[in-house]
Assembly symmetry: C2
Amino acid sequence: MRAPRQTFSYPYPHPAVTTDVVVFTIHDGELNILLVKRANPPFAGCWALPGGFLDIDEDIDTCAARELEEETGLGGLYLEQLYTFGKTQRDPRERVISIAYYALVPLDVLATPHAASDAADVGWHRFDELPTLAFDHADIVHMAHQRLVAKLDYSTIAFAFMPESFTLSELQNVYEILLRQPLDKRNFRKRILSLDLVEETGRQRRNGKHRPAREYRARSAKRVEIIK
Amino acid sequence: MRAPRQTFSYPYPHPAVTTDVVVFTIHDGELNILLVKRANPPFAGCWALPGGFLDIDEDIDTCAARELEEETGLGGLYLEQLYTFGKTQRDPRERVISIAYYALVPLDVLATPHAASDAADVGWHRFDELPTLAFDHADIVHMAHQRLVAKLDYSTIAFAFMPESFTLSELQNVYEILLRQPLDKRNFRKRILSLDLVEETGRQRRNGKHRPAREYRARSAKRVEIIK
DNA sequence: CCAAAAGTGTTCACCGTACACCCATGA
DNA sequence: TCATGGGTGTACGGTGAACACTTTTGG
């Protein structure tokens, strides 16, 4: 991938720059994040966030989206810059600045991770039972989770977890998982409907031996806007 | 400062990394930011944000604080990472990633900027009448202002503009300048006092031919905490 | 005694919260 | 007909917004 013979010289030292992505999704009623098992040192055999080096002629957002797509096979996901981590000792090889992003994968897209060439393994992990992570990736995950939960209050970020169409119960379920608390069904529906964020598809969802649920979709251009 | 003869080589290209700081303060009832006039190309003679290259063995926060102190002579200011800007074409010389910060200078500290060696001039500029800025610095300033105003709602960030002791009218004045709207005096005082953010110093402030104002200080460790 | 800013309470509208029952379907 | 999740309305309390006059000082 990289030309191994050529070298690049500068009159003063430059750090390496990477992007790392915290990829959230919800599986089986639990919040999950995507991790790759490192094949090479440092931290060989240790789980880490997907990510990689910034190409010199590549925008930062593009780099994060590329890494995300390489690992999940998915494009068009919600992706937002989180924070830049750069403690001098965070990587034992050389000085590495990591621009961290987080991404949300909708429920239905059954993302099957693809192990990259430098990864021994890749997979979803329950957020509540994460293994020890390489580098300072535990700090990155912690901040990403904080940001995600904070945004539930004042944005419609939860919609990024939803498939094209969904029922209000499914949406409520996502909120309950993220907030770790049950919500009142009537109040929840009142709030969502009054914000004019969703519209009925007109179809119904038949999911068992009970009344079918109305199917909704997010109103265009409102999927992840800030409220107010 | 930098060794001009030595070169540093890498097996693949590394971007340069800088920090840039948007320094806010309030002068004469108006929001101001600190700008330096560039002495050298590119954008020679153009106003820009204070900032500079990250030393290879220096933490990012430290770099921003150092740049800030070099320009203002002040330490211990409120300083927070904002966002990382890295469009491939943002600097015509080479690929430069800029980790942007913003800082708040209290009212009273009469910060007299010090022109650095690579600056032709340095000074405060009214936020409403900024000159054309170098690079993508206008974008950075815009985002910093957005963040600042957003934080007024859910944090006590405005306290970072206040000197050690202040009156409630002075505090209200800061909020009014930042929000660009007058606030009701009774409601404002009720809210601030009920949040238990300030305590009386016991002293009074005599400021003219009218009733003296009570002097307050921020309660320790509450200067810039998030509310809730 | 006059000008100027400091200081002080109450009322009302709205919003978030608590809470319980009927509906439509499949087995 | 029964089990299961879908769907609906009202009452209350707390919080934010509107609003005007008295107090203290210096000149």
